[in-house]
């Protein structure tokens, strides 16, 4: 296995040697041994069984795998699991609290912002992060802000409507 250390300096990177990481995912602390080349998306999906995060491409284009890393949306196919060491990760499974969906999840439902639902977890994570950065966006800002997340079903009309409704507190 070729091993390239992409900016992560906390661990030595030996061929095939697993690395210990400490990650808080949806509020639960995990101590895991991972291959240095393991992507965050594979870590959450396969090691932690959190399959809500989807994979839709192999070029970091679609955004279906978006999660929050320390509160900010990232494409988890573009982050190594070792890079999440010491971080807080939130996946789609972590948004609802005590069985109540988040305001953004509810806004997507109320505005029919999803159809097949495959892009939805990533879209909701990206939209949630967007409103943290820009709490009161214009339609254009929502469209630009979600540029990294592709949807093939909705034509985006109702996704944009959902995000604007969420921002307006409706």
């Amino acid at each position: 296995m070729m091993c390239t250390d992409r900016g992560h300096t906390a661990h030595s990177c030996n061929k095939g040697a697993d690395v210990q990481i400490h990650v808080t995912v949806n509020g639960t602390v995990h101590e895991s041994e991972v291959e240095p080349r393991r992507l965050l998306v594979h870590y959450v999906r396969e090691d932690l069984g959190l399959t809500g995060t989807n994979v839709g491409c192999d070029t970091s284009s679609c955004g279906a795998c978006s999660v929050h890393l320390d509160g900010e949306a990232v494409k988890s196919c573009t982050v190594l699991a070792v890079q999440a060491d010491g971080c807080e990760v939130t996946t789609i499974e972590g948004l609802a609290v005590d069985g109540v969906m988040s305001a953004m999840q509810r806004a997507f439902m109320e505005n029919h912002g999803l159809q097949c639902g495959y892009c939805t977890p990533g879209m909701v994570m990206a939209a949630t992060s967007l409103l943290r950065e820009v709490p009161d966006p214009t339609e254009r800002e929502v469209r630009e802000g979600l540029e990294g997340n592709l949807c093939r079903c909705t034509g985006y009309h109702n996704i944009v409507k959902a995000v604007l409704a969420c921002a307006a507190g409706n």
Partner: protein, 808 residues
């Protein structure tokens, strides 16, 4: 915006009140699971002990396979087996299915999950690997050494017909079939009409190849029961029922041992309406090894291994009299089949064969011919609209060309040609009956919403010589033609399956209702809409209804979801099954209330005696009586359950008019959509929220064909657009918000008055956008722009007209 509000009315069949829930914007019950990550797509399933499949795919578009050396791959860690086509030959009872032999002499090369002697497109499977992990399987697939003798690629369907390079040696030609539809009131009418025409147009359009790009790539898991012989196939498919039958046939497995489950499916758009090599390989190898085998498609693999859409060359000629009224239509199509015929590949252009006269009143003077041809590219097959967007594009673009010839506004030419509202039900030139419609009403509503006269006025001031940005407005009026049925008509088209749909309605002892449907949703919200139909019919709340689907063990009968058929066929079947249950309940009610069945009214979930409404028995009581069976009429079976298989009497004919306003930058070629208005009529809307969602998505997919998307091949047959970085599926910032309107013209052919809506947007949008683009540039001498109207294509077109002396 609503023209006709649906008031509750009495259903003449059951006497039940309809319209209480139907017509409401009910939120989707599917959503919470999808929004929280609970929903399980095929690749999310935990299947202990599963081996992973990876395919070795040809890097050549056309090549002879000289040798395959698997030794290095077999020796790699985690590898369980490596197979070539020869190794697996004994596992297939039949080649992969093509269910639509459009002509008796159609040429269809034998197509197996792995090819043995020749690779016919980049991505053609030549070997496969089973390993204990996906990474090991893919690494080993790269280590399989295949020696190829490259041959010339064939990527131009018109050139392919010259047979200079023959792809399938055993066929001796690249031509698969020629399918004709000539309808004349009297012999020679078409030629006479063209000879006598005041105006004619002759246009050539190219429907570029598209990649369907459902957000969920395909995924398959086959789980065998080695000691029982049963097999469960999980697949990201639109068609679990068709897949079950075809799996049994191609692998020679007794059908009763095959169970197919479509878990949550992340979009299809026709691309998952197929029977794929990977599905059959997973089943065959899981049986051979006695362990589960699974495969999941990467996006780049998806671009090669999942069917493509469109890919037609269209020649259309129109003849018109002095008023611009159409007198004849002549069409010559070349359909690019790709390298093999998949499930319904050859039939896709034929699905549009009846629509090249659009929504216009044409005499019996129609001459259509389509030739299907093999090329060395990925097979084509259904893609949202499947034949109908292509047909609508050709007629709607050429209507604009005709309007220019006649010297009238494109909307005026359409007005002169629309089938009149009073002509419905309308017997078309083809002999097909169009159920209901009011094209003028939809067009006038769209024109008003788009401020058509206002845009035309602005064009006069804006589109002056040298203007950097030119304004264009484009119209398209369409038919959707869905609910492919009845089965007899499909037989006349040589389609191998029927057009019926099945439904079972089962009342549980506590008056909760189970609905079992043969439709198989993948984003359309059937669970929500079907529960609304049942709620109205049975007088219960939609929350009291559960909808079961997409598992052939639970819903054994069905023909699945494609062609906007689910509501006008499957939804109507559910309503009919409700009627049968109510009929049986009426017998129990009459027995227990000691009155005649015909003396009972059924409304709001209760039977009451006519004239004395206080004598009533709620359905819930009857449900429990049917369950205990303590006091039923003599000879009546316990329980309330009914199954219906509905074969509709006709296709349904949704219609509408879309108008697009664009601004085209003549310096950069950039097209900006300023406004998009869609007025659609899909008959009665069960859930307007879902209808709007279908239209939004469809319109953007159609607009995206017009402006963004193209599967680009080089002359060596290499696909150049293999990722979402290279193939432009638009993001939110690339597309406009949409303005929707609708009219409601109920279908008279079914009790719900519904027609279907899944493909309408895609059908209406592409020509509306392209008509707007060409309209913007028409003052510069532009008469056509090749799709997609990317900045490059628009700029190149402008350069070529200015070189030809067009004025600016």
């Amino acid at each position: 915006m609503t023209v006709t509000e649906q008031a509750p009315s009495t259903d003449p069949v059951s006497g039940a009140t309809v319209g209480r829930v139907i017509g409401q914007r009910l939120l989707r019950r599917e959503d919470p699971a999808l929004l929280t990550g609970e929903a399980k797509f095929t690749n999310d399933l935990a299947i202990p002990g599963a081996l992973r499949l990876a395919l070795v795919r040809s890097p050549y578009a056309h090549a002879r396979i000289l040798s395959i050396d698997t030794s290095a791959a077999v020796a790699m860690p985690g590898v369980v087996a490596v197979y070539t086509a020869t190794d697996l030959a004994s596992l297939w009872a039949a080649p992969m299915p093509c269910a639509w032999a459009v002509t008796a002499d159609m040429k269809n090369p034998a197509h197996y999950p792995l090819t043995s002697t020749k690779a016919c497109y980049v991505g053609d499977g030549v070997a496969c690997v089973l390993a204990t992990s996906e990474a090991a399987a893919r690494d080993a697939a790269e280590a399989v050494q295949v020696e190829y003798e490259p041959l010339d690629a064939v990527v131009d369907p018109e050139a392919a017909l010259r047979d200079e390079v023959v792809i399938h040696d055993e066929l001796g030609t690249n031509k698969s079939y020629t399918w004709d539809l000539k309808v004349e009131g009297h012999p020679g009418q078409v030629d006479e009409a063209f000879a006598a025409a005041a105006y004619t147009v002759s246009e050539r359009y190219v429907q570029q190849r598209l990649l369907p790009m459902a957000m969920e790539p395909r995924a398959v898991a086959a789980v065998p029961q080695p000691f029982g012989g049963d097999i469960t196939l999980y697949s990201s498919t639109q068609v679990p029922h068709i897949l079950k039958v075809m799996t049994a046939i191609t692998l020679g497995i007794p059908e009763q041992q095959v169970r197919v489950i479509a878990p949550a499916v992340g979009g299809g758009f026709g691309s998952k309406l197929d029977v794929y090599a990977e599905e059959l390989l997973c089943v065959a190898l899981s049986r051979k090894h006695g362990v589960p085998v699974r495969w999941n498609e990467e996006r780049t693999e998806n671009a090669h291994a999942t069917v493509h859409g469109r890919a037609q060359v269209q020649h259309i000629e129109l003849a018109a009299d002095a008023s611009g009224k159409l007198t004849a239509v002549r069409v010559r199509l070349i359909g690019d089949m790709g390298a093999y015929l998949q499930l319904v590949t050859p039939g896709i252009p034929i699905l549009g064969a009846f629509l090249y006269a659009g929504v216009y009143d044409l005499p019996q003077a129609y001459d259509f011919s389509c030739t299907g041809v093999f090329t060395t590219m990925t097979p084509t097959d259904a893609y949202r609209g499947a034949g109908r967007p292509e047909a609508t594009y050709a007629i709607e673009r050429s209507m604009d060309a005709m309007a220019a010839k006649v010297g009238v506004d494109p909307m005026e030419l359409r007005r002169r040609n629309y089938i009149g509202k009073e002509q419905y039900p309308y017997t078309a030139f083809s002999g097909l009956t169009y159920d209901s419609g009011d094209h003028l009403a939809a067009a006038e509503m769209a024109a008003e919403m788009a401020d058509y006269p206002g845009v035309r006025a602005r064009q006069v001031t804006q589109n002056v010589a040298g203007a950097p940005k030119r304004l264009g407005i484009g119209v398209s009026s369409y038919f959707e033609m869905c609910g492919l049925a009845p089965s007899r008509v499909l037989a006349s088209l040589n389609y191998s399956a029927g057009g019926w749909e099945s439904a079972t309605v089962r009342v549980l002892p506590t008056n909760k209702i189970q609905v079992v449907t043969g439709t198989s949703p993948h984003g359309q919200g059937h669970e929500t809409s079907w529960s609304m139909i049942v709620a109205d019919k049975m007088g219960v709340s939609p929350e009291d209804v559960v909808v079961l689907h997409s598992d052939t063990a639970i819903a054994p009968l069905g023909l699945d979801t494609y062609g906007s058929r689910s509501l006008p066929v499957g939804g109507v079947a559910i309503a009919m099954a409700c009627d049968k249950v109510i009929d049986k309940a009426r017998k129990i009610a009459a027995h227990q209330m000691e009155c005649a069945e015909e003396d009972l009214d059924f409304a709001d979930g209760s039977f009451s005696v006519k004239g004395t409404p206080e004598r009533a028995m709620p359905f819930a009581a009857i449900a429990f009586e049917a369950f205990t069976a303590h006091n039923l009429p003599d000879g009546l079976e316990p329980n309330l359950e009914a199954q219906v298989t509905y074969d509709p009497p006709n296709f349904s004919w949704p219609f509408g008019t879309h108008i697009c306003v664009v601004e085209v930058d003549t310096e950069t070629g950039q097209v900006e959509v300023l406004k998009y208005v869609a007025v659609d009529d899909c008959g009665v809307q069960v859930n307007p929220l879902i209808v709007e969602g279908q239209v939004h998505g469809g319109v953007i997919q159609g607009l995206s064909q017009a402006l963004f998307e193209e599967a680009v091949y080089d002359t060596d047959g290499n696909l150049k657009t293999t990722t979402l970085a290279e193939y432009l599926v638009p993001a939110a910032c690339d597309v406009p918000s949409l303005t929707l309107g609708h009219t409601v013209t109920p279908s008279p052919t079914n009790q719900l008055g519904v027609k279907g809506v899944g493909e309408a947007g895609t059908i209406g949008a592409t020509p509306a956008v392209m008509n707007a683009v060409v309209d913007a540039l028409s003052g510069l001498g532009v008469t056509n722009v090749q799709m997609p109207a990317s900045p490059h294509n628009v700029w190149r077109t402008l350069q070529s007209v200015s070189a030809e002396g067009g004025s600016r």
